[in-house]
């Protein structure tokens, strides 16, 4: 363990740690552009210069590529080092345009910060700046090459980390250019990370340009709810509109990055047709009245048909709090049914995962990077868990063999950023020879027998779930004896349902009354419901969701729901001053907030689904629950949203997971 001294602070770090990382570990930030913890070293920018006062090497050194060694005495504040860094900044700024006021990166720009920090405020260079032609990189990312400082972060991410082949670096010396062979959308499903990773404004998020500055945004630590990987991210919200979404570090789950779906799919949340008002039989009303009506209708329904004909339907979109509250609602009626899935395969598979997985046999996404044998078993990776792919790629680059047992029904056509060896069955894969093998599969599609085969070899499982909180829903389903809705239908007992954020297909509901529906999307089910209750999206909610590996993660409310203050982005609505509405766009803009003083946010009646359930339960004669995480769930209340989440297996020590 090398011991060194940095700015008079003694530091001890693991062998192989660089001086820059050693300094970071004690809270000293050495300015840097090309260094990124998730990427290979480039030593391209020369900004991280420090002065080595004593030890095996002396003088000015680049701290990002210098391994810490015993006896080093490092100064980050030595005048010589300061001078060097100031000069580096000055030369990097030679070609950089002075366009910060019209640059979307302004305010969240590393180059801006370090230029100020380096004291470079007066331009000495009077020559011409080199300029470039920008490329069209698709509808998500705007390219502005003149701002480039040649740190190579983008190409190291795009080609090395994410395995993309259509973006890279051309030319040499002063002609270096980062782009594509020709104009066209970036092909990698991880391309959006260029926005986060560029230290300046070469790549900016086209979907949220020129809307707000960094200091305008409301932020909160959030967790993506598109698939069951549960990547950490942070929405950037301005006046109740999600402008941008950026990745948030979680070393175990998503490293620093998120996929393009997580980053650019804001449509549902910003959707102007999002239902904002509670409705009873199609008439807008207030929340209290809607809850009263729903409670009365449930009461009447149970009086007439008996509680056995009533079902409460949730989904894996619900937060853990929502799932637990749904369980409480069902428990309020003696014989009512609970259901989280329509399809029995999804319900059973999801539940099987919670029964089989334990802290020992489950693999986190980051574990894939160090696996020595990986099997993709009937899984559509780029749709069902895209952020696993970069970790698998890392292992593959290190020589790990990746086997794929393809399911012909699943060929998504998307290329994987690594090569696979095709295998017909699991028996063909030499799992026994590996000591750190991981099988990536999907809960819905993996039969129990196959899983026993895997377990016999000692391989770990990355078992993706059918929904973002599938694991949480399955745990609650187990606790409350939930059944797949299709089975309830077949039994012909259910005659009325109350749905919470459910995606049940309406076609199956012939002869069944939808008493109530709570959702933040305008689903078909919500159109059919007698009483509709608007709920908040995850970005407007505080809650917990459990990803496929049983990791409970807390997300926090980034903003209070309601109509955006200035109406929505012009592209979402039609009636612009500039001409005809775009095809497929609604004819009228969403209602503008009225310009009268009032206490509540216009269109802001939505509440979290679990709170709607709690209030409904109270109206149905139950006890008012203010904290759904009770009993064995109680420790989850204290999860720090920024600490990486916690595996839930320790909560259920009493009920040991099934052995295979």
């Amino acid at each position: 363990m090398p011991k060194l001294i940095i700015d008079n602070l003694p530091v001890e770090v693991a062998p192989g740690t660089t001086v820059l990382e050693a300094a970071r570990s004690v809270g000293i930030t050495i300015p840097h552009f090309c260094y990124h913890p998730a990427l290979a070293l480039a030593s391209a920018c020369r900004l991280c210069a420090v002065k080595m006062l004593d030890g095996p090497v002396k003088g000015i050194q680049m701290s990002c590529s210098l391994p810490a060694q015993d006896g080093m005495v490092v100064s980050t504040t030595d005048p010589e080092a300061l001078k060097m860094r100031a000069l580096v900044i000055e030369w990097l700024m030679i070609n950089h345009p002075h366009d910060c006021p019209v640059c979307d990166e302004g305010g969240e720009c590393l180059l801006q910060d370090f230029t100020i920090a380096g004291g470079h405020s007066r331009r000495r260079y009077q020559g011409d700046k080199r300029t470039h032609r920008n490329q069209y990189l698709g509808e998500h990312i705007y390219h502005e090459m003149n701002r480039c400082i040649q740190c190579y972060r983008c190409v190291r991410f795009y080609q090395d980390y994410a395995g993309g082949t259509d973006f890279g670096v051309t030319g040499s010396a002063g002609r270096v250019y980062f782009g594509r062979f020709e104009d066209g959308p970036l092909e990698s499903p991880f391309s959006g990370n260029l926005v986060d990773i560029c230290p300046t404004g070469v790549f900016t998020d086209k979907t949220g340009r020129f809307r707000a500055r960094y200091w305008d945004y409301q932020f909160a630590p959030s967790v993506c709810q598109h698939c069951s990987v549960g990547c950490n991210l942070a929405p950037q919200v301005f006046q109740r509109e999600v402008i941008k979404i950026v990745g948030r570090r979680n070393d175990q789950v998503n490293s620093w990055f998120i996929c393009d779906r997580a980053r650019f799919d804001k449509k549902g949340i910003n959707d102007p047709s999002r239902p904002r008002a509670p409705r009873v039989d199609g008439e807008a009303t207030d929340y209290e009245a809607a809850l009263d009506a729903l409670a009365a209708r449930i009461y009447d329904f149970v009086e007439v048909h008996g509680p056995e004909s009533l079902a409460f339907v949730g989904s894996s979109r619900l937060s853990l709090e929502g799932c637990l509250m749904l369980g409480e609602l069902v428990a309020n009626f003696d014989a009512a049914s609970l259901s989280f899935y329509g399809d029995p395969a999804e319900a059973k598979g999801s539940q099987l995962a919670t029964e089989l997985l334990s802290g020992e046999n489950v693999a986190a996404p980051a574990d894939l990077a160090s696996a020595d044998c990986i099997v993709l078993l009937s899984v559509d990776l780029m749709n069902e868990g895209p952020m696993l792919a970069p970790f698998i790629r890392k292992a593959w680059l290190g020589g790990t063999k990746v086997y794929r047992i393809a399911d012909p029904a699943l060929l998504s056509g998307q290329q994987l950023p690594f090569d696979c060896i095709e295998a017909a069955t699991l028996a063909e894969v030499p799992l026994e020879q590996a000591s750190r093998a991981i099988v990536v599969c999907h809960a819905t599609r993996t039969p129990r027998e196959e899983l026993s085969d895997v377990a016999a070899t000692g391989a770990r499982l990355a078992m993706l779930q059918p929904g973002p909180n599938g694991f949480g829903a399955a745990l609650v389903a187990r606790e409350h004896g939930a059944r797949p809705f299709d089975e309830l239908l077949a039994a012909r007992k259910v005659r009325g349902i109350v749905a919470f954020e459910s995606d049940l297909p309406v076609a199956n509901l012939k002869g069944i009354t939808v008493l109530g529906c709570a959702d933040w999307q305008a689903t078909e089910l919500s159109q059919k419901a007698g009483v509709f209750l608007p709920t908040t999206t995850w970005m407007e909610s505080t809650g917990t969701s459990i990803n496929f590996e049983g990791r409970a993660q807390r997300f926090e409310r980034a903003f209070r729901p309601g109509y955006p203050l200035k109406g929505l982005d012009a592209k979402y609505y039609a009636q612009s001053r500039y001409g005809e509405p775009a095809p497929g766009q609604p004819k009228t803009p969403p209602p503008q907030p009225p310009r009268i003083p009032r206490g509540e946010i216009p269109g802001g009646q939505e509440i979290e689904a679990w709170k709607a359930m709690a209030r409904l339960l109270e109206k149905l004669g139950g006890e008012l629950i203010v904290e759904p995480l009770t009993g064995s769930w109680q420790p989850l209340r204290d999860i720090d949203p920024e600490a990486g989440g916690e595996r839930i297996f320790s909560l259920f020590k009493s009920s040991e997971p099934d052995t295979l």
């Binding site: 259509d166 890279g168 051309t170 040499s172 594509r180 062979f181």
Partner: protein, 167 residues
């Protein structure tokens, strides 16, 4: 389109390489010999033969100064503008070349015979200033020697000399 025979030769070259990228420069040079310069079509063909994307071929093609991504004359004149040749007074030679050929740096003579481009170093810093015309290096140059060299190269014809280094 390249002839089937050339394609087969190049594929064999790639098959013998430790990795496709190792053979990339050879493939690009042969395609350049075929087309006269590395056309967009040639980049596509190189990508296919090498199993790389077009961008990845472009990355390599634009890095090397003897792979030409624009049309060039029959013979390339590279003039070293690096520090040793600068010390030895390469600018005088450059001015002379520009005047004799009637082109600026990067230009091709009206008869399509020569293209003049700078290069960074030819590894013979003691013999500067120097230029290369086609595959021949002319060193310790004076304006008179440049004239002789040009005359010599004009006489020796236009046998696609960009194909430097090939037997």
């Amino acid at each position: 389109m390249i002839p089937e025979q050339l394609k087969k030769t190049l594929e064999a070259r790639v098959a013998h390489a430790f990795s496709a990228r190792e053979a990339a420069v050879d493939v690009m040079k042969d395609l350049q010999f075929h087309y006269g310069w590395l056309t967009d079509e040639a980049v596509g063909e190189a990508a296919e033969i090498l199993g790389l994307s077009r961008l990845q071929v472009e990355e390599l093609a634009t890095f090397y100064e003897m792979i030409y991504r624009r049309p060039v004359g029959n013979k390339m004149i590279h003039i070293c503008d690096s520090i040793s040749c600068w010390n030895a007074g390469y600018e005088k030679i450059l001015d002379h070349l520009k005047a004799r050929l009637g082109v600026e740096v990067g230009g091709t003579t009206a008869d399509g015979q020569f293209t003049l481009v700078p290069c960074c170093c030819m590894g013979r810093c003691g013999d500067g200033p120097l230029i290369s015309i086609g595959s021949t290096i002319y060193d310790n140059l004076t304006p008179e020697l440049v004239d002789q060299a040009l005359e010599l190269e004009r006489l020796s014809g236009s046998a696609a000399p960009e194909h430097q280094g090939q037997a």
